[in-house]
């Protein structure tokens, strides 16, 4: 990405038909630590890698509960993510106050996207620098959405965003056909396996990772620390088993970090140009 004369605000087009500010915002999402989301017919699971600013600091929160039926994982500017999560919480609370029912996931995602779009068309604003993976369960079943700073939003069966997410995406693309009928346990396992692909330094452990679940008769819940540990342990055990028998369902974790050098430019079309 190079500076040019058309990138100082988001109301100026470049001759190539791009709005660079929006693309920079989307770049901010790619620099955040990875987050993955996937769903079965009953559940949605979000999993994130957390970063610590220094050895002395705590890990930055990446998963936020929106309501009993919905939560988000964020990647990019955490501060922007917090603002959006507060907005989403407020909308959910207001909706259940008035209608006595949970707000539809798709409708809320649309509202958030509209809110993000406004920021791409005002000279005095900047686009949000955060990507949201929204997982929720409503009367039309489980949903997984990805909200982009450009104001675009997509519904996915499984998705990954953030640093090195291409590796996680590759895993998900290979496995997603089995997700539909997977149990909650299996979904969590797949989420952790795919996240592991995006792991940069060291191992996935119960401290630098948090997982959330939501689904049929399952209110949104975040697994971290001690509640996550059994799942990580199970993962490690399976990994070890796989190494020994050499069936290796998941690609070796060591491969993953290497594709940072080749950022996956073509994997997603520049969102700002989509109609």
């Amino acid at each position: 990405m190079f500076r040019n004369q058309y990138d100082t605000d988001c109301v100026t087009w470049s001759p190539a038909g791009r709005i660079h500010q929006i693309e920079y915002a989307m770049e901010a999402v790619k620099q955040g630590s990875a987050a993955v989301g996937l769903k079965s017919k009953k559940y949605v699971v979000l999993a994130t890698l957390k970063r610590a600013a220094s050895e002395l600091s705590a890990y930055q929160r990446k998963v936020f509960k929106i309501d009993d039926h919905m939560g988000i994982a964020i990647s990019g500017l955490t501060a922007d993510g917090r603002v959006l999560s507060r907005y989403m919480r407020r909308e959910c609370i207001n909706h259940s106050f008035v209608y006595d029912s949970p707000l539809s996931v798709g409708r809320l995602v649309l509202q958030v996207a509209d809110k993000a779009q406004v920021c791409t068309q005002r000279s005095w604003k900047r686009p949000y620098g955060v990507g949201l993976l929204v997982g929720g369960y409503d009367k039309t079943g489980p949903h997984l959405y990805y909200n982009c700073p450009s104001g675009n939003y997509y519904e996915y069966k499984a998705h990954a965003m953030g640093a090195r997410s291409q590796a996680a995406k590759t895993y998900l693309e290979r496995k997603f056909e089995t997700f539909d009928d997977a149990t909650l346990e299996e979904l969590i396992k797949h989420a952790l396996f795919s996240l592991k692909e995006s792991c940069t330094d060291g191992e996935l452990n119960s401290k630098n990772c948090s997982v959330s679940v939501v689904g049929l008769d399952t209110p949104f819940d975040i697994l971290e620390g001690d509640t996550l540990k059994p799942h990580i342990d199970a993962l490690d055990a399976e990994d070890a088993g796989a190494m020994e028998t050499d069936t290796a369902p998941a690609a070796p974790a060591a491969d993953a970090p290497t594709d940072e050098a080749a950022p996956p430019e073509a994997e997603e079309p520049p969102a700002a140009m989509e109609s």
């Binding site: 407020r90 207001n94 106050f97 539809s104 798709g106 509202q111 039309t140």
Partner: protein, 282 residues
Amino acid sequence: MIPAPQKHSYALGPGVVAPAMHPEYGRAIQELNNVNYPKAGGQPFVVDAGHGVGGPHQHTQYPYVTGTSVLALKYKDGIMVACDTLGSYGSTKRYKSMERMKPVGKFTLIGASGEYSDFHYIMKLLDELTTDDYCHDDGQNLTPTEIYNYLTRVMYNRRNKFDPLWNSLVVGGFHNGESFLGTVGMVGTCYTDSHVATGFGAHLARPLFREKQYDDMSEDEARALLEDGLRVCYYRDKNSINKFQIAKVTAEGSTISEPYALITEWGYEAFVNPAAAAVGTW
């Protein structure tokens, strides 16, 4: 009066405001309450001085064209609602073919007694919501419970502004195999039950319902019972006419019948000389 635009949150729909929020939750109230709230600071620009800030604002102080009782009950296949088609202007029988029951979406039906123009306003609000649902095109529609809760909020909000919507509403619906029947009054009083009646119906028809209604009753039984209720309301409520509509909401959706008359019998001795048994009455 030029109606001021009704700004509202999409999550809430028109006519309602959110509960007071913690400051952390943003300026929701400020923005929702004041339609003319300037987005970039400065003085509000007021088109309709009577509506936004300052200036006397006339509230409804009494109803003009009104409808009388609405009766409704649960039966085997869903909900049955009935009322007459009279619009009274005071004690004048002013309009004789007013439809006081309207469908909302596919699975809900609203029956209204009280001020007819307020009912139109309420229907406008609900139309806005159902249109919104249609435009989203995501297969999600308001359920009867949601409509009932929404109306409760609207009625209660207007009562809080000392500008009530002068209606008693009956909300009947059938959704996902479950029937729903509730009622909302002009100050937001609301409840759900197996049978409800507004206005005089609460005194005249509900005793019959209490005795005979049960949730598994057949359609014919329900219709007969409802007609009994209508008949007794017609006998005793002078602001009613013998022109009724019966509506039902079932798994197939809602249908409202054409207006029809009931067979009545005025030859009873008590009707011929009502004062005979009560000395001193007129």
